[in-house]
Every structure is written in structure tokens, then in C-alpha cells.
């Protein structure tokens, strides 16, 4: 089926070329980092994880979000999602590839990465994360490919593949749960030490993943004459709205626990993220704009998606889902991970500023993900057209 990705119009090739340029720049930046060490990033002793891990965390959510299409279709037999479940599965493949690339980019000794398999350590959450992420990637490749092949041949998918489809549903939940457990089981990091992290991650994932699918499906409608269908879009929007609402509810619960209990450790990071934290006469607030960006964008996105008039308009629907996606990225892909390191265990504040090299690598990983996504969606849409023709 790959041949479908090799035939496209000028816009298709220009888009791939655009992504490829950034991928090449990022590759050069990564070689620089590989030769010098992670000192080329803005990370430090106090903020020991940066853009790589924060984007990884967010993208695990995007990958898990695809299950919001798979579950209604395969478990509840919701036929309307039939055309677009493949989009969810292929999105998971692209997002997980980005996740794995971010992890490799973040390792101090990437050539030793397989030590995780050589010395398996079940007490480490990172070990389980490796298992579920690779497992989910494998499941999505199998399911997506087999079902698409069957569709192309216009036969029913083989029965055995449904076993993998059903297994992939709890796997989707598990990838984001285990990723949350990377953070929420660490003593002494008050902001992360919260039992609500895993459900909050899932809620934001179930909003962000489908929001991206809605956005991309609107683009596909314009450039590839692939219509997801009004009913399917509306149902996805409903899912997005509820998930975004639950995420906002969880964020507000964190605020309540911190500020009502008045326990300093529970308030500090929230204070730092949203209002700026004063320490020895200096106010540290470099993440404040991002967090208010999160608030404004999610509110905007939510409103545009909730009002029937704007929801029915493709332009506003696209703006709304993009705003929601970016807003949730600011929350989980920036604030959550970076904020957790402030204040440091020794009650000091070090602010993190990513370097140019680091930003270019991050952009390149995103571009690689979108490159894979474009190619996979090209194949999927090509098959759809072939079947319809």
C-alpha cells in the first residue's frame, strides 16, 4: 500500500519537503548534541528534564487519545466512526514514534538505551513505560495495517486482528497511566505527588488527541476530498468537550487542595506557574504567560466547539480544535513537567530556558511525527478513495 504515498500533487510534496527541511536541521542539531552532551540544552542540575520529556509526556496523551475513536467503533459498534478509526490508529503510530524519539534525544547515553531490556527492572516505572509504549505502537501498526489492507480488498478483516484491537484499548489507557506514574510516585515533588495526575492526564489526552484528529480531518476535507462526516465530527466534538471539561475540573481541584490546605509545598508550583513565585526578593515567572495561554486557549477552543453556530462552521471548528490542542499542550507539554522542578528539593529556584539547539531538535521531532502522519494518512485516504471509486 506504500505506493499510495509516492503519488501526490505539488502541495503534498511541498509539505513533505517543508517538514523534511526541519528534520534535516534537527538532525544536524542532534549530531551536535550527541557530540557535546546534553549541556547544549537549557537543562540544569535543578531542572533536569526539559522540552524533550515534557513533549514526550504530552504526545503519549495524543497517542492514547486515538482510543476515543477505536473504543466507540469496536466496543459499542458505533458505525459512524468507521471511516475515521484508522485516523486514530495512525495518529497513535506517529505520536508514539515522536515519544520514542524524544526519549532517545533526552538520554545522556543513547547508545546504551537497550540496557533497559538487558537489565529489566520491574520496580522502575520507566521500564513499564517502555513496555506499554512499544506494545501500543506494535498493536497500532498491526491493527491499522491489517484492517486497512482488508478494507482495500473489500473483505472483512481477519478475526485474529480483533484480539489485538481489544487489547489495544486497555493499552491506550495504560500508556498514559504509566506515564503519569513516572511523576506521581516521586516523594518530595509536591506538584507531581497527586493521585489525580493519571486521570487528569487521561482527560487532557482524550481532549487533545481527538482535537487534533478533528483539525486534521478538516484539512483532509479541503486538500484530499476526504470527509469524516458531520455526525462523526459532532460526536468527536462532544467527546472533546467533556474531556476538556473534566481536565479543567481536575486542574481546579489541584488549586483547591493547594490553596485551601495552605500547605506551602502544594501551593508553590501552582503559584510559580500561574502568578510567579517570589523568592529572596525576586519574582520568578517565566512560565506564567504559557499557563495563562493555556487558560485562554482552552476557554476559546471550548467556546468555539460548544456554540452550535461556530461548531457547524468548518473554519471556526478548525480554529477551536487547534486552540484547544495548543492550550492543552501548554498545560501538559510545558507547564506540568517544567513546573514540577520549581522549587528545587533545596528550596531554590532555577528557571529553565531551552536553547536554540534544543528547540530545533524538538521542532524536528514534531516534524518527523507530522511527516509520518502525512504519509500514513495519504495511504489511508488513498485506500478510501480507491474503495469508493
Amino acid at each position: 500500500m506504500f505506493e499510495k504515498a509516492l503519488k501526490g500533487n505539488n502541495n503534498y510534496w511541498m509539505w513533505l519537503g517543508f517538514l523534511g527541511t526541519f528534520m534535516a536541521i534537527g538532525a544536524i542539531c542532534y549530531i551536535r548534541q550527541f557530540n557535546y552532551g546534553l549541556g547544549l540544552t537549557g537543562m540544569s542540575r535543578d531542572v533536569s528534564w526539559g522540552l524533550y520529556i515534557s513533549n514526550f509526556t504530552f504526545l503519549v496523551g495524543v497517542a492514547a487519545g486515538g482510543v476515543m475513536l477505536v473504543l466507540p467503533y469496536y466496543v459499542h459498534n458505533y458505525k459512524v466512526f468507521g471511516r475515521i478509526t484508522i485516523l486514530g490508529e495512525f495518529l497513535a503510530i506517529a505520536a508514539l514514534t515522536m515519544c520514542l524519539m524524544f526519549i532517545i534525544a533526552d538520554l545522556g547515553q543513547p547508545i546504551r538505551a537497550l540496557n533497559v531490556l538487558l537489565h529489566p527492572t520491574p520496580n522502575s516505572m520507566l521500564f513499564w513505560d517502555m513496555i506499554v509504549l512499544n506494545g501500543y505502537l506494535f498493536l497500532n501498526i498491526i491493527c491499522g495495517w491489517v484492517i486497512l489492507t482488508a478494507e482495500r480488498k473489500q473483505v472483512k478483516p481477519p478475526k485474529w486482528v480483533y484480539i489485538f484491537v481489544y487489547i489495544s484499548i486497555p493499552f491506550a489507557i495504560s500508556i498514559h497511566t504509566v506515564t503519569a506514574m513516572l511523576y506521581c510516585g516521586l516523594p518530595g515533588r509536591h506538584f507531581w505527588l497527586s493521585a489525580i495526575i493519571a486521570p487528569r492526564f487521561l482527560a487532557s489526552a482524550f481532549a487533545a488527541g481527538p482535537a487534533l484528529i478533528v483539525f486534521v480531518s478538516l484539512i483532509l476535507k479541503r486538500v484530499a476530498h476526504f470527509d469524516a462526516g458531520r455526525e462523526a465530527t459532532n460526536k468527536m466534538v462532544t467527546i472533546i468537550l467533556y474531556a476538556a471539561l473534566i481536565n479543567a475540573f481536575f486542574v481546579m481541584l489541584e488549586f483547591f487542595v493547594g490553596y485551601y490546605s495552605q500547605i506551602p509545598g502544594h501551593m508553590h508550583t501552582l503559584q510559580y506557574l500561574f502568578f510567579g513565585l517570589e523568592h529572596h526578593g525576586h519574582v520568578y515567572n517565566n512560565l506564567v504567560p504559557f499557563m495563562w495561554g493555556f487558560v485562554v486557549l482552552t476557554l476559546t477552543g471550548f467556546t468555539l466547539l460548544a456554540i452550535p453556530y461556530t461548531r457547524r462552521n468548518d473554519f471556526w471548528l478548525a480554529i477551536g480544535s487547534a486552540a484547544l490542542f495548543i492550550g492543552l499542550w501548554l498545560d501538559k507539554g510545558i507547564g506540568f513537567v517544567l513546573g514540577g522542578f520549581v522549587p528545587s528539593p533545596l528550596e531554590e529556584i532555577t528557571e529553565y530556558y531551552p536553547t536554540f539547539n534544543e528547540i530545533m531538535i524538538t521542532i524536528a521531532v514534531w516534524c518527523t511525527g507530522f511527516f509520518i502522519l502525512t504519509v500514513l494518512y495519504k495511504i489511508a485516504v488513498g485506500v478510501e478513495h480507491e474503495v469508493e471509486a
Binding site: G39, S44, R45, L107, G108, Q109, N115, H119, M130
Partner: protein, 286 residues
Amino acid sequence: MDKKRREFLKIAGISTLAGLGAPAVVDRLVSGVSPLAARAAVEVQPGGHGAESQAPAEHGAEVVPTGKQYGMVIDVRKFIAQPGLADECIKACNVSHNIPQFPDPKDEIKWIWLTGHENAFPDNSQYHLSETMENNQVLVLCNHCANPPCVRACPTKATFKDKNGIVAMDYHRCIGCRFCMAACPYGSRSFNWRDPRDPQGGLDMNNLNRLFPTRMRGVVEKCNFCVERLGRGEEPACVAATGGSKAMVFGDLNDPDSEIRQVLKQNYTVQRKPSLGTKPSVFYII
């Protein structure tokens, strides 16, 4: 209920059962896979002071611990009485372990260092602190916890509890994921953001302790309680630097006859962030 849903529930049930059984199977597999892995599994067994026994113990009851647990008492009063002594300890450690002194704090590597009293003990009351304490700097280092979160977090067993209770690092195995740095509630771990031998700001290669290696870039490092010196029957470098002042006392916390236990018996001591349940092995006399 349609057929598909019934099928799904069946499969979900079976996979849940499989999921519940999996950890046990994995554990068995891991310990059976190679003598090395089996040995590593034994090392992880906590033999720490006050290690909880498997049987439900009475609340707060100390369980008689087994095995060694090296620990340290730092007498802050003696460091106040002898200004400059703490710097001697830090220098002794830096020289002994070939620790680079990068000028940029972003690249900083430290095993033992001075920090404010309120930074070392943020959980203790800082309200109307005595004047001496308010301006005092305290030595902090890895606590070699009896229940170390960093060891729990490490995905490769590159950091582990050795049989002397020391939280050790195997730099050959570390992949540099820095999960241990996020897990440590004491900020005791440093990462080699760049090559420690970098001619720009790194180690002076003509002036090294040639009995001890350096590190490479991309691995995490921290205080090792001078395990290499203990192996030769010497005291840790920082303890040796305090001379006979007893400002630092080192020994086995699980040996009731050890000097450190006598010091602990005679003095009121505090630990850093004891509420986190990590059971730190470094005690402070304030």
C-alpha cells in the same frame, strides 16, 4: 447485549487476570535469567536501619534490622566552631573523586556542598530561627537512604543499594535518563551535562587522583560514601578531612557498638525530610 460486546468483556476479563499475574511471572523470570541479574536482585533487598518487616509490625515499632547500613553524623556545632572546616571537607571530596568545577552553575557537579540551614531542612520550622542558624551553612550530601526512591526509579539498576547500605552508582550501566534526579528529594544527584574532562572549564588532567576514575558525559553521579576508600580500610575523605574533631562521625548504623550509635544515643539528632519515609542515613546535631 450484542455479541461483540460480550466477546470484549470475555477478553477484558482474561487480560485483566493475565495482567495481575504478570508481575510475579516477570519477577521469577528476571531472577532466573542470569546469575548476574539474580545477584542484582539480591542487592536490592533493603537491609536498612528500621527496614519494615513483611509482617505487620506495631505502629512505630523498630524492627531489628539486618545487614550493614553505613551512616554519618554531622555535628553542625563543631563546624560553626571551626569556620573553614566544611570547605576542607568539600575540597577533600573534590580532589579524591576528580570532580570537575565548572564555572557555569548549569553544568555544576557536586557530591558534598554547603547550603543554608533553611534549604537543608525546609520541613523544620524556620520561624524566628536563632541568629547563628539563620546565617549558617550546612554540609549536605547523599543521604544513602535505607529506602531510596532513586533506586526504585532507576530503569537499569545502575543505581542500587550495595551490601553495606551505600546507594551506589554503576557508571558503566547508566543510560542518563535522569529519572533518579527527579526521584531524589534531596537534590543529591548531578548529571554530566558535558565531558568532565573538557579542556574548557573541566578537570585539570595533570592534577588528578590517579587511583580513582573520572566520569564520562551523559551519566549521573553522586556521593559514594567513599566506597573505594572503605575498601582499603580508610575513612571517607570528608571525614578524614575533619581530623580528630569528630565534626563528622562515620560508621555502621546497624551495629549497636559502633561509635556512630554511641553518638546518636548521646545527642538529639535530626534528618533531612524524614516525613518522606526515605530513612536517610545522614544525621545532624544542630
